[in-house]
C-alpha cells in the first residue's frame, strides 16, 4: 500500500489493556487550569518508570465544565487500577490542590460498559484538617477544602474504565528534520480528537525500545533494528535512504479511539508525502505475543474513506 508516495508496511501496532481515568480541572482562566494540568501530566510519558501515562486531552469552555469556569480535560492511563489510584491521588495532591484557583471534577460518568468509581478528592479532604466541608448536589459529592487562596473544591470520585495503551506508528524519513516535521503534522491533527493522548514529549518518542537487552538489569533497550546509525551492523529494518525514525504512541479510552487517531495521524504524515522526505510508515509490535490489541496499519488506512 502506497499513499502519496509513502509506503504503508503490512504490519500492526501491538497494544495492551490499561486502566484510565479522566479529570476535569477548572480554574479562574485557561492559563491556570493549564498550569495545573501541565504539572499533573508531567513526568508521565511511559508506565515503565512514571507509573502513569498522562496527557492533556483538550481545553474545555466554561459551558462544558461543571462549575462554569474555563477548564482542561486530562487523561491518565496505568497498567492497573491500584497504581492508577495511587498516582491520581499524589498528582491531585501535589499538582492540582497546590495550584491557585483550581477545582477538579470527574471526567467519566457514563458511556462505558464498566465504570469503577475511584477516589479523586476523597482523601485530599483531610488536608482540610477538620475544616473541610462536604456538599452533595444531585448524586455527586464534593469536598470544599479551605486553602490560602480561598477554597479548593473537588469531586469525591471520578470514573475509571478499561482502556487501551500502546497504539503506535513509526515514521521513517530521509532526514531528522523531515521526520520531526511529519510528527508535528500528525500530532497537530491527532490532538483534535477526543479520548486519546500521545504521552511522550510533544507527542513524539525517538527512543523506541525492544524487549530485553544484553545487560541483565535492563528490561528494555534501544530498538536497534530501527536505529539508522546501526544499519550496517545489526539486523536492520531500514533501507539505505532512511536516516531518521520517530514514533508516535497513543493511549485511548477504547480501541476505536486509537484506530481513529492512528488513521488521522498517518493520513497527516502521508499528506506531506514522499516529497517531504517521508518514505514509510511502520509500527512497533512484539510479534503478537504481548498485547491482545493489534492495529493493522493497512486495514486502518483502507477504512479511511469510510471514516
Amino acid at each position: 500500500m502506497i499513499i502519496n508516495g509513502v509506503s504503508i508496511d503490512d504490519t500492526f501496532a501491538e497494544a495492551f489493556g490499561m486502566r484510565a481515568t479522566r479529570v476535569l480541572i477548572t480554574a479562574q482562566n485557561h492559563t491556570w487550569a493549564m498550569h495545573a494540568a501541565t504539572a499533573m501530566t508531567g513526568f508521565a510519558t511511559s508506565v515503565i518508570a512514571c507509573g502513569v501515562e498522562a496527557g492533556i486531552e483538550r481545553l474545555l469552555s466554561p459551558e462544558e465544565t461543571p462549575d462554569g469556569r474555563p477548564g482542561v480535560a486530562v487523561l491518565l492511563f496505568a497498567m492497573g487500577s491500584a497504581v492508577l489510584m495511587k498516582q491520581l491521588e499524589t498528582r491531585m495532591g501535589q499538582c492540582v490542590l497546590t495550584c491557585p484557583t483550581t477545582a477538579a471534577f470527574s471526567g467519566i460518568d457514563s458511556g462505558y460498559p464498566e465504570i469503577t468509581r475511584i477516589n479523586l478528592g476523597k482523601n485530599l479532604r483531610f488536608f482540610g484538617d477538620g475544616f473541610q466541608i462536604s456538599k452533595q448536589f444531585g448524586a455527586k459529592r464534593y469536598w470544599r477544602v479551605p486553602v490560602m487562596d480561598g477554597e479548593f473544591m473537588t469531586e469525591e470520585t471520578t470514573g475509571m474504565v478499561r482502556a487501551v495503551g500502546g497504539g503506535n506508528f513509526l515514521i521513517l524519513a530521509e532526514s531528522q528534520p523531515q521526520a520531526l516535521a511529519a510528527c508535528e503534522a500528525a500530532i497537530s491533527a491527532m490532538k483534535q480528537l477526543p479520548n486519546v493522548i500521545m504521552p511522550f514529549p510533544g507527542g513524539v518518542v525517538r527512543s523506541g525500545s525492544k524487549v530485553g537487552a544484553k545487560y541483565k538489569s535492563m528490561i528494555a533497550s534501544t530498538n536497534d533494528a530501527f536505529c539508522p546509525t546501526l544499519k550496517g551492523i545489526t539486523r536492520t529494518e531500514l533501507s539505505p535512504e532512511i536516516e531518521s525514525v520517530m514514533e508516535i504512541v497513543i493511549d485511548g479510552l477504547t480501541a476505536e479511539d486509537i484506530n481513529r487517531a492512528m488513521r488521522v495521524g498517518i493520513q497527516a504524515v502521508c499528506d506531506l508525502g514522499r516529497a517531504a522526505g517521508i518514505h514509510r510508515i511502520s509500527a512497533g509490535n512484539y510479534g503478537g505475543k504481548l498485547g491482545p490489541y493489534h492495529f493493522k496499519l493497512r486495514e486502518i488506512m483502507r477504512a479511511r474513506g469510510a471514516a
Binding site: 462549575d67 456538599k135 452533595q136 448536589f137 464534593y142 470544599r144 480561598g150 477554597e151 473544591m153
Partner: protein
C-alpha cells in the same frame, strides 16, 4: 397518567391519619377495597369513604375502576388542616394536595413527589430521606426536623416552600436540600448536622443555634448570637456548582447566580464547622 382522587366530604372534628393513602399501599386495590380501608381519627377508626369521595380517573380521562389501574398519582381535593401524615413513608409516585394539610406532611418521605397547594402544619418533611416535597404555601414549626427523641432530622431529598416557615426549620437536618422562599422563624437550622438550607426572606432569632455542620444560605444579614463567628466576605466557586444544580427546580432559587457571600461559621459552642452564607450583591 391515571389519578386516584380523594375529595374531603366532611369537616373532621378530630384529626385524621391519612398515612395509609400512598401510591404503594393503594396499588392494585379497587375503589371498593380502598373505600373500606380504616383511617385512625382520634381513638376511632373511620372508613375511607366516610371521609372522602373517591374517584379514579383512567388514562383516557374516564372513570376507571379496574384493579390494575395505575395509582401512581393520588390527588387530595378540598383538603383541610385536620388531615395528618399525608404521604407518610411514600417511596414513589406522586401525591398532589389541594387545600391545607395537617401535621407530619411527608413524614419519612423516601421517594416520589409530594406537592401541596396550601399550608402545612408542623413537622412537615420530618425524618424525610429522599424524594421531593413542594409546598405552595406556608409550613409550621420543625420543617424537616427529626422525630421526637431522634438525633437526626431530614436525611435527604428536596423540600421547596414558596411561603414562610415556622420555628426550628431544619432542626438536626443531616443531609438534603431545603429551600424556603419566604421567611423563617426562630432557631432556623438549629442543631443542623449537614445539608443545605436556604431562606430568601428574613430569619428570626438564634439562627443556626447549636449548628454543627451544614450550610445555611441567606439573602439578608440576620441578627446572630455571639457564638456565630464572622469569617469575612468571599467569592466561593462551589456556589456556581450549587446554583447550577438548582437550575431545574420550579423555584426562585433557580435564578440565583451570584457567588459573593459573607461567611459566618458556627455554632462555635458546638463544633463550629457549620456556616451561614449571606449572599451579597455582585
Amino acid at each position: 397518567m391515571s389519578a386516584l382522587t380523594f375529595t374531603l366530604k366532611i369537616s373532621p372534628v378530630q384529626r385524621v391519619d391519612c398515612s395509609p393513602l400512598t401510591p404503594e399501599q393503594l396499588h392494585g386495590k379497587s375503589v371498593a377495597e380502598i373505600a373500606a380501608l380504616p383511617l385512625w381519627s382520634g381513638k376511632r377508626q373511620l372508613r375511607v369513604d366516610e371521609v372522602f369521595d373517591i374517584s379514579r380517573i383512567g388514562k383516557d380521562g374516564g372513570d376507571d375502576d379496574s384493579e390494575d389501574s395505575n395509582d401512581d398519582h393520588i390527588v387530595f381535593l378540598n383538603s383541610s388542616a385536620h388531615l395528618d401524615r399525608i404521604g407518610q413513608g411514600m417511596r414513589s409516585g406522586r401525591i398532589t394536595v389541594h387545600g391545607n394539610a395537617g401535621d407530619y406532611l411527608g413524614l419519612e418521605l423516601r421517594g416520589g413527589r409530594l406537592e401541596l397547594h396550601g399550608n402545612a402544619g408542623h413537622f412537615a418533611a420530618c425524618a424525610m430521606s429522599a424524594g421531593m416535597l413542594h409546598v405552595h404555601g406556608n409550613c409550621g414549626d420543625y420543617l424537616g426536623a427529626g422525630l421526637v427523641g431522634e438525633r437526626k432530622g431530614m436525611r435527604g431529598g428536596t423540600v421547596l416552600v414558596t411561603g414562610n416557615v415556622g420555628d426550628r426549620a431544619g432542626d438536626q437536618m443531616r443531609r438534603g436540600l431545603m429551600l424556603i422562599e419566604g421567611d423563617a422563624g426562630d432557631y432556623c437550622a438549629s442543631r443542623m448536622l449537614a445539608g443545605t438550607l436556604g431562606v430568601l426572606g428574613k430569619v428570626g432569632r438564634y439562627t443556626g443555634y447549636g449548628m454543627r455542620r451544614g450550610t445555611l444560605l441567606l439573602t439578608q444579614t440576620p441578627v446572630l448570637h455571639a457564638t456565630m463567628a464572622d469569617c469575612g466576605t468571599h467569592t466561593l466557586p462551589f456556589l456556581n456548582l450549587m446554583f447550577k444544580s438548582l437550575r431545574g427546580l420550579p423555584s426562585r432559587y433557580a435564578q440565583l447566580d451570584q457567588n459573593r457571600v459573607r461567611r459566618y461559621a458556627g455554632d462555635i459552642a458546638n463544633q463550629g464547622t457549620g456556616e451561614i452564607l449571606v449572599l451579597l450583591p455582585p
